[in-house]
């Protein structure tokens, strides 16, 4: 079974630009999660999709962040416009049973 994949591995952009991160969950996993780890801090929950619906987006930092999951398969997380404090590692995870979450390798975002 292929794992959760994320693209790109690393993105370097300038402040004010737009970046879109992609996550492909494990096939058949209805639940998809986004997390973020800012340097030196803990991994923090951003939001949770069940299929294409947002179940919980309480962790989204502000309205510069937009997550979508059209068709209930892959998901994208867009940051527009990016700010310096958005730098960090963005993890995606998926789950079939909402007990064990399988994490992807993360996308490292650097905003200069």
């Amino acid at each position: 079974e292929a794992g959760v994949t994320q693209f790109p591995s690393h993105s370097v952009i300038e402040k004010g630009q737009t970046v879109t991160l992609r996550c492909d969950p494990i096939s058949g996993h209805d639940n998809l999660y986004w997390y973020r780890r800012v340097m030196g801090k803990e991994i923090k929950f951003l939001l949770h999709f069940v299929k294409e619906s947002k179940q919980d987006e309480s962790g989204m930092p502000n309205n510069r962040f937009l997550a979508e999951r059209t068709g209930g398969t892959y998901s994208t997380l867009k940051v527009q416009p990016a700010e310096l404090e958005d730098s960090g590692v963005y993890f995606c995870a998926s789950s079939r049973n909402r007990v064990e979450q399988f994490f992807g390798p993360g996308t490292r975002l650097t905003v200069l």
Binding site: N31, K41, E42, F45, H48, R98, Q101, P105
Partner: protein, 112 residues
């Protein structure tokens, strides 16, 4: 605010040593505690604990939860260089078991 605290932040040992990693939590309406191992990129699931005093084991790794004192420990016996990783602890509240609340992790380095 819910939080999870891990200690120590970092640990350096030699192969064959036994280590104990600590995780304390303050999570509203606590439901479960999970341990993950992060070697290079993606955190991988180790254990989920929901009941106090029941040890979970997987090879040289074991973990136990104390819901009265609000902590968990992860033991690794006869450490190997392959155990080198960041070990993450996460709690989940009853009202939202999908939302993992992570600690900052313990970085374990095992030298030959």
């Amino acid at each position: 605010e819910d939080k999870v605290v891990q200690s120590p932040l970092s640990l350096v040992v030699h192969e064959g040593d036994t280590v104990t990693l600590n995780c304390s939590y303050e999570v509203t309406n606590f439901r479960s505690l999970l341990w993950y191992k992060q070697e290079k990129k993606a955190p991988t699931f180790l254990f989920m604990l929901t009941s106090s005093g029941i040890e979970k084991k997987s090879g040289r790794l074991s973990s136990i939860l104390d819901k009265k004192e609000l902590f968990s420990i992860l033991n690794i016996t006869a450490t190997q260089t392959g155990d080198s990783a960041i070990y993450l602890c996460a709690g989940t509240p009853f009202y939202n078991t999908d939302k993992l609340i992570f600690g900052t992790g313990t970085r374990l380095q095992v030298f030959p």
